[in-house]
Chain length 243, copies 6
C-alpha cells in the first residue's frame, strides 16, 4: 500500500526526517511517500502558520489523489486541515495528534504531552477537547524550543525535551508521554530510554493506524460532512480549486 | 471608529448585503468597510471551502492593518481563520457565530440554530462545543439551501428558513432562533416577524460587539497564543507572508 | 438610551463608583442611571448576601420598568437574581460576570479571575460552569479583601489585587485577567497598567454589551422560561409583588 | 431528632400535605416540623417566585435555629436558597431536587423527571447540570399543570402526571420516574402503582436523607463557602438580618 | 431491617472492623450482617483485585437473597461489581464510594479524597466521572499505605492519613475530606478531630443511605439495564450461576 | 506476531466465528489464537454476565502470557476486564468497543451504534463517556436480538440489524455505523453493502490496531495504575491467583 505522509511545513530536512521515521515502522509492503507543500511556512508555530499550512495539506491531498494513494498522514501536531483533507478523498486521513492520543490511551490511563512552544500548547488543548481526550491528559508541557531548533540544534533540543519529560514523570502521575511535534519523530526511542516511560509519537502512530485502516478497508465516509465538497468556482490564486 | 467586515467568500453581492446589514445597526460614527478576499471560494459550504477562505480572511486582516482598522468581523458562520486572524492584529476580531451565540445566550436560556446545509451543521456543533455553548443550543437545523440560493432565489430561501424556524419554535422548547449563515443578514427582521420569536443574526451581533469592545478599549491579547506569530520565511505562493 | 445600572448592595459610595465607571465607557447618547436597592446588605460576600440582594435587584427592575429603561446591568460579580430579573422585563438584563466572561473570551483564549474573598470564588466557579466558560478560566484567585475595603482602604486593596494579578500572569499561562468584583470598576486601567495584561472588568463590559443589544433591538425572550412570571398572590412583606 | 421541612411557598394546604408525606416516611423518633414562610408567593412557578421564596427559606432556617433543629428540608423542586440556607446553620440542609436525584441514581441508571410546568423545566435542567446528574436524566417532561392545580383539582392533576409518566416509560428508556414538584409528595405510591415504575419523590427522599445525615453526625461544613456569612449591616426591610 | 455489608476482600479482621463501624451508626432496629466472600483477594489494590472481588460480591448478594436481606452495602471504595449486584436483587445496593460522594456533596461544595495507594486513585477518578461528581472533588490524594497496613500497623497508617488530610486542608480549598478506603471506617471520628474538617466515610454513609432507602421502600428498578439477568447457562467453575 | 483474541463468553461457535473474522483482516505474518475461557457465561447480556466474563478474560491473559503473546483482543463489546487484563501483561490489550470507537472517529464525524439488546445499550453509553466518545455517537440502537440468536438464527438476526441500521442512516445524521457485538464480526461487509454506509466492527478493528501497536513496539505502561498488581494472597476458588 502507498501512504502519503504530508509534512505541512516546507522544510525538506524535516520532511526527510519524518519520512525516515515513517519508514522505520512501516510494514514491508508499505510505500511511504513523504512530501511537503511547495508553498507555506518553513515551520508551524502559530494559528496563522497552521491556517496557511492547511492549504498546503489540501494541495498534497489533491496531488496524492492523482498519484494514487491508499492513506494520508498529516504530520504536524495541530492536525492542520484535517477535516478539509478528508473531504477531498475516500482514503483515510490521519492527523498525528489524534493518532498519538488514540494510541496513548490504549497503553496508559493518563499521559502528558511535551511540545515545543508554550504558545502552541493551546492547540493541543483544543484538540484534546475536540477528540474527547482531555480527561486522559494530565498536562500540556512545553520545552520552549522553536520547531526548527529540532533541525539546527538537535542535541540541545533533545536534552530539553528529556528534561521536561522527566518533570512530567516526576510530577504528573502519568503512564506515558506524548511527543507534541512531528519534528521529534526520530527521537522517540531515545527519549523513551532516557525518561524510562513509554513514549508515543504521532508520525509513527499515524502510519501504523493508516496501515491498519487500509487492512480493514475503512475509508473516509462520504455520507454527511466529510462528503466531497460541493462543486463551485474559486477565484484568484485559488482558481485551480474550481470544479 | 472603523470596522472591517470581512465576507470570507468572494461573492461581491453577498459582501454588499452583509455591509448593508452591518451599516443598518452601526452607530452614527462607525465606518463599515465591507470587503471580501480577491481569492477564494464563491461560497462556503464545506470544511475545504472554509480552510481556503481562512487565507482570504488573513489577507484582509493584513490589508486592514495597512488601512487602519479598529475592529474586524469575520462574516461567515464557521468563524474561519478566527484565531489566525487574532494573531495578526491588536484590534478585536469577532466571528459571527461566536457573536450570535453570546448575544443569544443573553436573551434566551435555550436557542436553536437554523443554517443552510446539513453538512455544515457539524461546523456549528463544533463551535458550540468549543465556545462552551452546547448546552444552550437545543438543535442545529438545516433549511437545506445552498448558500448562493440566498442570492439567486431569495424568496424561496426565505420561505424555507421560516418554515424550519417555525418547526424549531414548535418542537424545540426554545426562546430564540440563531441564523446560521452570514448571507441571511438582511432577513433578520422579516424572519423574526414571520416566526414570532427573537432572532439573533451574527453579522449585526458582531458589529455591535465590535463597537462595544472598541468603546472598552479591549484589544486582542498579545500574551500567550494570540501573540503576533513568530517571524519566519514562507515560500511559494505564500512568500509574501514572510517576515 | 437609558441603562439602569443596579448595584445590588446598598452602599451608595459603591453605587457612585460603579455609575462613574459606567459613564466613563458609555456612548454620548447613553444615560446611566446608577441605583441601589433601599433594602439589603451593605456588601455581598456570601450566598446569603446574594440571595437577599436578588430581591433588591428585582425591586430595581420594577422601578426601572416604571421609569422607562432600555437595558439593565446587575453590577455584582455573582449576577444575583439574573434570571428572575429577566422575567420582569423585555429589556436586556446583563450580569457583570457573564459580560466579563464573554468579553474576555473574545480577546484571550484563557484568563484567570481575581476576586475579593476566597469564599465567593465558588460563586465564580459555578457561573463559569453555567455559562460554559469553565474551560476558558485557568484559575479563580482571591486577593482576600473584604468588599468594603475597596471603599475604605483603596490603596491597600489595589496593591493586593495587583499582586495577585501578577501571580496569575506569572503562573497561569493566560492572556487576560478578569476582575471579580463590581467594586473594582474604577481600577481597571490602573491594574492593567500595573500588571501588563489586558484586564476585563464587568461593569464596563456590561454597559457596552447593553448598548450593543439595544442597538440590535435584541430583547429578553418572552418565550419559555424567561416569560413574565404567572400572575399570582404574594403575601406578607412581599405582597406588593402580587399581580 | 427534629427535622424542619420548609415549604418555600405560603400555601398552608401544601405545607400540610408535605408535612404529612414527610411524617409518613419518618422514623418513630423523628419530629417533623412542617412550616412555610409568612411572606412570599403562594406557589413557585418562575425564577422570580424562586428568588422571593429563597428569602422565606432563610427566614425559616433562622427560626429553626432558634427552635433547635437537627436538619432542614427545602421542599420545592428548584431547591431555592439552598446554599444561602446552608450558610445559616451547622445542621444539614437538603433540597428535594438533589435528594430525589441522588436517590434515583441509586436505583436506576437513567430516569426522567415529570414536573408541573414546561417553563420551570429549565430549573430542573440547571440543577441536573450543577449536581452532575445530567447524564442520568433522559428527559425533563412537563404535565403542564399549574402548581396549585395539585391542590384545587387533584384528580385531574394526578391523571395528567400519570399520562406523562406513561409516555416517559414508553419512550425514554428509563428505570425510574422522578416527580418534579413538592406538591406531588402525597401521590408517590399512587403514581408508581399506575405507571408500573419506581417513582422517586423529593420530600420523602430528603427526609430520609436528613435522618441518615443526622445518624452520621454529618453537618454542613463551616470551612469554605458554606461558612457563616460575614457579619455585616443590612438595611431597610432586611435590617433584621444585620449581625 | 437487615443490611448485608459486604467486604469484598477476604480479610476477616477487616470485615469485623467494617461491621463494627456499620453497627456504630445503624438505627436500633437495624441488623448488620457483615460478611466477606470465601474466595478472592485478601485486599483490593488493583483493577485485577477488583475484578476478582466483584465475583465475591455477587456470591454474597446471592447468599443474601437466600437469607432475606433488605439492603446491601459494597464496602470497598471502588464499588466493585455494583451494577452486577444490582441486577441480582430488588433490594437497594449501595457502593461506599458513591455513598461517600453523595453525602459529601450535601455538606460541602468541594472535597478531596484521601485514599491508600496512588495506583488506585485512578479508580476514584473514574467513579467521580461516572457519578457526575468530578467537579466536586478538588484532588484525589494517596497516603501511600498498602491496604493491609491499616490492619497491621494502624497507628502509622492513621498518622499518614492525617498528614495527607492536613495537606488537603491547607492546599485544596475544600470543605470536607472523603476517606477512600473501607478499611478506614473505624477512623472517621479520630481523623476528623485531628484534621479539623468534616470527614465523610463510605461504609457508615452507605449504611445510613441503605436505611433511608428501605424507609422509602425504594428498590432497585427492574426496568431496563438493572433487571434480572437473562437466564442462561454458565459453564466450568461458574456453572452454579446457571439458571 | 501472535495475537490472542479472547472471546469472553464460552460459546465455541462464536469463538470460531470471531477467529475467522480476525484472520480475515490479519496480515500474512500474524498468528491469530482465538480462545474462550473454560468457565463463564455462554453469552454476555448483562452487567452480571460481564463481571463473570472478566475473570475468564484474566485467565486467558494468564494463559497467553505462558504461551507467549504479542497482543490481546477482548472480543466483547463491553470490553469486560479491560483494565485488569492490562495489569497482567506488558503486551497491548485492546477492547473491541474502544477499537471500534477509535476507528469510527477517524472516518466519520458522527456515528450510531447498533447493538443486540436494549439492556446492554447502557454499557455502550458508559464506555462512550469513559473513552471520551460520547459526542461522536448520535444514538445507541438495539436490534433486540439475544446474542445467541446470531448463532442460531443468523438470517433473521442479519435482517434486524440491517433494518435498525437503515433507520439509523435515515434518522441519525451520521457517517458510519458501529456494530455493537463481537458476534456480528462476520457480518460487516454484508451489512455495509445492505445499508450503504461504512460499517466499523470491533473485532477486526482491534486486530488491526493490535498489529499497529506491535509494529510500534507500544506496550502497556507499567507506570501507574496499569502496573502489575501488588503480589498478594487469594483464597478459595481464586487461590491460584496468589503470587
Amino acid at each position: 500500500m502507498r501512504i502519503r505522509v504530508i509534512n505541512p511545513n516546507t522544510t525538506a530536512a524535516m520532511t526527510d526526517k519524518i519520512g525516515t521515521a515513517a519508514l522505520h515502522v512501516a510494514r514491508p509492503g508499505t510505500e511511504i511517500i513523504a512530501v511537503n507543500p511547495l508553498s507555506g511556512p518553513v515551520s508551524i508555530e502559530s494559528h496563522f502558520d497552521e491556517a496557511v499550512a492547511a492549504i498546503g495539506v489540501c494541495e498534497e491531498i489533491r496531488a496524492g489523489e492523482q498519484a494514487g494513494t491508499d492513506a494520508y498522514v498529516i504530520a504536524c501536531f495541530g492536525d492542520p486541515g484535517l477535516y478539509a483533507a478528508r473531504e477531498l478523498t475516500r482514503a483515510p486521513v490521519i492527523g498525528i495528534a489524534e493518532a498519538a492520543f488514540h494510541m496513548a490511551s490504549l497503553i496508559a490511563t493518563r499521559f502528558s504531552i511535551v511540545t515545543t512552544l508554550g504558545r502552541t500548547g493551546i492547540i493541543a488543548e483544543r484538540l484534546l477537547d475536540e477528540y474527547g481526550m482531555a480527561v486522559r491528559c494530565r498536562k500540556v508541557r512545553a520545552a520552549e524550543i522553536p520547531v526548527l531548533e529540532l533541525e539546527h540544534n538537535p542535541r540541545a533540543a533533545f536534552e530539553r525535551i528529556v528534561a521536561e519529560s522527566l518533570r512530567a514523570k516526576a510530577e504528573d502521575n502519568i503512564g506515558a508521554i506524548v511527543l507534541g511535534c512531528g519534528g521529534m519523530a526520530n527521537l522517540t526511542d531515545a527519549i523513551s530510554a532516557a525518561v524510562g516511560l513509554p513514549v508515543v509519537e504521532g508520525v509513527t502512530a499515524a502510519v501504523a493506524l493508516a496501515e491498519a485502516m487500509v487492512s480493514l478497508k475503512l475509508q473516509t465516509s462520504k455520507f454527511g460532512d466529510l462528503d466531497t465538497p460541493p462543486a463551485k468556482a474559486f477565484v484568484g490564486q485559488f482558481s485551480h480549486f474550481s470544479r
